[in-house]
Amino acid sequence: MKCGFCGRHFTPAEAAEKEPCGRCLRGCQKSYCPYCSYGNPMIPGFLDRWVKNKDKKE
């Protein structure tokens, strides 16, 4: 994914290296950029499928 702050690309596995704050009831829904630490929203399943379908079409 692309970081909304610094514009660099990283994978979910790299983002998971950051320890979550643990205060959200449903677990951390952020992907923290390994380059600038900006918290990017993790796209939920139904939107993710939509994004992937759109990318495939393109």
Binding site: G4, F5, C6, G7, R8, H9, F10, T11, A13, E14, E17, P20, C21, R23, C24, L25, R26, Q29, K30, Y32, P34, Y35, C36, S37, Y38, G39, P41, M42, I43, P44, L47, W50, V51, K54
Partner: protein, 654 residues
């Protein structure tokens, strides 16, 4: 210099490197065809593709590395890519870059040359660059760089033949050396002079990585230097300490300076080419003379007009006023009254603090429209690429309060959720910065919902929003400035590469807004229900009345009615819950303009919610978090008290 070009046994290796999305995989497929193997790099979970090709009868193994931005790795992918460069005995290293972003990507070519690698530069996506009017003199660039340079567009296989030829001809040619400023060269020499081991990597590159505190390189040097390691480490540590505030910036600026010289006559734009609007806008946003007026415009239209007027005004009136007050609440109350005989259960569901009449109504009708509009604005600003420019813009102001532009990241995140932002403060470089930002987040950064409700409330009272804004900004700057004087510590430099500015992409904005709204709603909904149950329990047991009575003198001191106590108690559950409580008081006509403004200022500055306090304790420890808690509480009520007296004395807002 130890060269990488050792005689290979069997297939010669060719490694493809470059930033993500520059066409490495397209080149890989074009070179290797269909027969490729993808496997994890040994000891890691990072996938690496390997394939083969034959050029002039010689077989080559082609390795496609994960995207990397620099030889100084940050992520696992970059670490693997660098390890491949250092450990695989490469016949050639092809650096693939995007012609449209050549100025931003060329510094990595310098790093690869510096490392002593047999580099071939592929200037890819040249067709699109040319379509936009750009022309790159490839032979001149090759002459200046002193390495093979190929221009091409791998999607259409343009330049593939030249790449294959460059691979075949890649030999033991001497690599060029690019000089930096004399100061930096002296620092590099201090470290290289101490190195005595045998390395694949050029000593100059090794010294630069040691100065930038690369742990893996340090371990490698420790292994190779033996007894001499202490001397190397001391030389690197001393030099790095001397320039601890600006070392990364100096190295980055020097590489940029060299690249600028290399590209000066190499890259041409048509003479009649006008600077793109996005480039001009980008420059305006970081220039203080135009940047601050633009920031005010963004805040006025994005936050005040759209979130405050439209979200907190029109949408909330529609949801809260028309839907809940006129339709859903009366329906729920009449149904419960008809079918539930028990008073306690009626109170629990549709009473003053009922699950439906308070919890659901606050979450759905009050907070959701506001955070929805806020997240939409936020996603647009984010997608345009404005935030990193904001960081550059406020860097100068932030330096006055002991911070730098890097602190913009937790501040921006704080408008979404201060708890998460408090955790992100750990990424700031010094303890001093972390404490300062934690304090300012607890004090003067309202979360999105609190901000939205307050904007919606105050925008209906002429002058109230201006008074609130002036108060919060002044307190932010004053407390930041004074804390910076009191807290000892270092002041690190800040620099970052700006990503290109662009028009917001509808698809991106929609996905990000919906994602954030879903996260927020699913997160707050149960909490609002729990809070309303707790308040109901407090009401039924009399504990709430006791708490409200305890707060009444404080409310009196602020000139507020005793009913305002409940909103402040709500605020400690969640900031947005408190602001919503204030909304109810205003709707009930219990607050004058002065009282409303004083309550809004005090509540914004007032202590953070429980979750944020717990996060402060986790990140900064009991001593600092309790200190911040006490300071913020005393300051919030003192400011509220002073503001009430000031407004009553001057007659402003009366």
């Amino acid at each position: 210099m130890a060269s990488q070009n050792k005689a290979p046994k069997g297939d010669r290796k060719v490694i493809l490197v470059g930033n993500p999305n520059v066409g490495k995989s397209v080149l890989f497929n074009a070179l290797t065809g269909a027969y490729t193997v993808v496997s994890n790099y040994p000891g890691t979970s990072v996938a690496v593709a390997r394939g083969h090709c034959e050029i002039n009868g010689q077989r080559y193994e082609i390795l496609d590395t994960p995207g990397m931005y620099s030889l100084l790795p940050i992520t696992e992918e970059e670490r693997v890519a660098r390890e491949m460069l250092l450990l695989e005995d490469a016949h050639a290293v092809i650096h693939v870059l995007d012609a449209r972003n050549i100025e931003r990507m060329l510094p990595m070519t310098l790093q690869l040359i510096e490392a002593g690698l047999p580099v071939i530069l592929l200037v890819n996506i040249l067709d699109e660059a040319e379509r936009s009017g750009m022309s790159i003199d490839i032979p001149l660039l090759q002459e200046k760089l002193g390495i093979p340079v190929v221009g091409g567009a791998m999607r259409s296989k343009r330049g593939l033949k030249e790449v294959r030829q460059a691979i075949a001809e890649c030999g033991d040619d001497d690599l060029p050396s690019f000089g930096y400023s004399s100061d930096l060269e002296k620092d590099i020499a201090k470290v290289t002079d101490t190195l005595t081991g045998d390395y694949r990597l050029d000593l100059r590159a090794l010294a630069l990585l040691l100065l930038q505190k690369d742990d893996e390189i340090l371990a490698l040097v420790s292994d190779r230097e033996g007894d001499n390691f202490e001397q190397v480490q001391q030389a690197a540590a001393e030099t790095a300490f001397e320039h601890r505030f600006d070392l990364h910036l100096r190295i980055s600026l020097e590489r940029k300076r060299v690249c600028k010289g290399l590209l000066a006559e190499t890259v041409r734009q048509p003479e009649n080419r006008r600077l793109r609007f996005a480039d001009r806008l980008s420059a305006w946003t970081t220039n203080p003379w135009t940047g601050f007026p633009l920031l005010i415009l963004v805040l006025y239209f994005g936050i005040y007009q759209f979130v405050g007027k439209f979200g907190a005004g029109v949408l909330v009136n529609l949801c809260e006023g028309s839907l809940f007050e006129n339709f859903l609440n009366p329906l729920a109350i009449s149904l419960i009254d008809r079918f539930v005989p028990w008073y306690w259960l009626r109170e629990l569901v549709v009473g003053e603090y009922g699950i439906f009449t308070l919890g659901v109504r606050y979450a759905v009708a009050l907070v959701l429209p506001i955070v929805g509009t806020f997240f939409l604005t936020f996603s647009v600003i984010e997608d345009v690429g404005y935030f990193p420019r904001l960081a550059m813009l406020v860097d100068r102001v932030f330096k006055k309060i002991g911070l730098n532009g890097r602190a913009v990241i937790p501040m921006v995140l704080g408008f979404g959720c201060d708890t998460m932002a408090t955790m992100v403060t750990r990424t700031l470089e010094t303890v001093r910065e972390r404490v300062l930002v934690t304090l300012l987040l607890a004090l003067a950064i309202p979360c999105s919902a609190q901000l939205g409700v307050i904007l919606g409330l105050l925008s209906g009272v002429p002058g109230a929003l201006l008074v609130w804004t002036v108060c919060i900004v002044l307190i932010f700057l004053l407390v930041g400035f004074l804390s910076a004087q009191v807290l000892p510590g270092e002041r690190p430099m800040f620099y970052m590469e700006l990503p290109p500015m662009r028009l917001p992409q509808f698809h991106n904005v929609l996905v990000k807004t919906m994602t954030r709204m879903q996260w927020y709603f699913l997160e707050i909904f149960p909490l609002f229900i729990i809070a309303s149950v707790l308040l109901w329990a407090g009401k039924m047991t009399g504990a709430l009345e006791w708490l409200v009575r305890g707060m009444t003198p404080v409310m009196g001191m602020l000139g507020l009615p005793e009913e305002a106590s409940a909103a402040f108690i709500f605020g400690f559950f969640r900031r947005d819950f408190g602001a919503a409580g204030l909304y109810d008081l205003q709707e009930a006509g219990l607050l004058t303009p002065v009282q409303l403004t004083v309550a809004a200022v005090t509540m914004t500055l007032f202590v953070p919610c429980i979750a944020q306090f717990l996060m402060m304790k986790k990140e900064r420890g009991w001593k600092v978090s309790l200190g911040i808690f006490l300071f913020v509480t005393v300051l919030a009520f003192s400011v509220g008290w002073s503001l009430n007296i000031f407004l009553l004395f001057t007659g402003i807002l009366s």
